[in-house]
Each structure stands twice: as C-alpha cells, then as structure tokens.
Symmetry: C2
Subunit: 109 residues, 2 copies
Amino acid sequence: MTATAPDTLLAVFGALADETRWSILVALGEGDASASALAGRLPVTRQAIAKHLAVLQSAGLVEPIRVGRELRFRALGSALSETARRLDVIGAEWDRRLAAIKRIAEAME
Amino acid sequence: MTATAPDTLLAVFGALADETRWSILVALGEGDASASALAGRLPVTRQAIAKHLAVLQSAGLVEPIRVGRELRFRALGSALSETARRLDVIGAEWDRRLAAIKRIAEAME
DNA sequence: AGATGATGCAACCACAGAGTTGCATCATCC
DNA sequence: GGATGATGCAACTCTGTGGTTGCATCATCT
C-alpha cells in the first residue's frame, strides 16, 4: 500500500497532464457538452476531442450522458476531490518526515 | 483565473503522470537520496533518474541538497498539498454546478 | 598530488500519444 | 422512408520523451 501509486492515481494524473484536456474540462465545467459542440469552441478536431474524452472517462473524470442523438459529457468533481484528498495525505506524510529530521538535527547540536 | 489551468499545475501533473517518477518520489519519501543511490534500488539507469529528478525539481516537487560530493534530493510535501488544495477547489466548483442543475431539474417536474 | 566515485553532457533509439483526414454507420427528426 | 447531423473506426504523421550508452569533468578523500 505504501509501495507505488495506485493505477487510478496514475490514470488521473495522466489525464490531467494535458493542456487540451484541461480546456475540455474547463469547458465542461460551465455545462455539459458533446464532442461536436466542444469542437466548435476548441481549436482541435472533433475526433481529437473524442479521444481526449475517452481518456478523461477512463480516468473517471467525466461521465457520458445520452441526450437525443448526441452524447454529452459531464465533468465529475468528486473524482478531483478524491484525488486531492489522496495527494494531501501523501504530502503530509513527507512533511511529517521532514519535520522529524529537523527535530533530530536540532537535538544533536 | 477561471480560464485555463496554471502552468505550475500542468507541470506538477506532468511530473506526477509517470510510473518511474512515482517510484522515485516514494523512495525519497523514505529518506533523501542521490541519483546514483536511487539507481541502485530502481531498475533504470542513473542518467534516466537524473532526468526524472530534473523534471520533478522544475515542478517544485523535489529539492536538491549538496552533501559532500554527492547531490541528494528531498521530496517536498508542501507542493503536493498545495496542488491538492487547488484540485479540491476545482472539483467542488464542478459539483456545486451539478447540484444546482439537479435542483432546477427537480423544481421543473 | 592522484585515484576514485559522483555528476554533467550529448547523441541516439524506440515507443506513446496528440492530431489529422477520410469514410462508415447509426439514430433522429421531418 | 430519407435526408441529416452526430458518432465510431481506422490509418497515418509527427513530435515529445523515457531510456540507453559513452565520455568528459569535477570534487573529494587518502
């Protein structure tokens, strides 16, 4: 459990490590939208966006919703919050170790 | 501010989106270490690790420390915590919008 | 001073993935 | 039923980068 980062974390970071995907997420943050609709606002092809949405979906950051003949996507904030919680735990752990080292160093003077 | 993700966020996610870099961070989480030392534990070359450390450093996740003739690195938890805080804010915003939509939908029945 | 171990730099290979174009398909609305 | 707009799939290009090897260099410890 303290070994390597879980796959889901890796997937989330991988998904979040792309400029275009952030643009998509930001756009979805203002309202659900289909790949075609997003292609209208962003400077990339619909197909490119579709791929990005697939990545985001498999990372659990986005959810597909059928409405009429189009497939809209919705940004899922819970996934981000969950990731944030995990990051915070890890970061706190590191800093705890740092504090311990500092304490020991000061005690040795 | 609500436009695109800040460069630092992108850099952090880019840095965190690699299996090997996580291994390095986890190793550093147990104690400071030099690139050469890390090369002993991990299944990659010292040079590869050096590159990864450079990436981690420019993302603010790691800090170099000269000790004798070796250059050790220390994992910085504060950067992770900061990132976590930002993620949480964004996620909460999305969920707030979702909740609003749900409320409206229910009111329309 | 000199051997040694550590770091730094450069060229190179290979694969992943971001992006494109083109076409097929499938549901929807008239 | 048929036109239409949306999605799905496939092949291809090209850049980024994780990884390697080889050599140069530089500080350190004896």
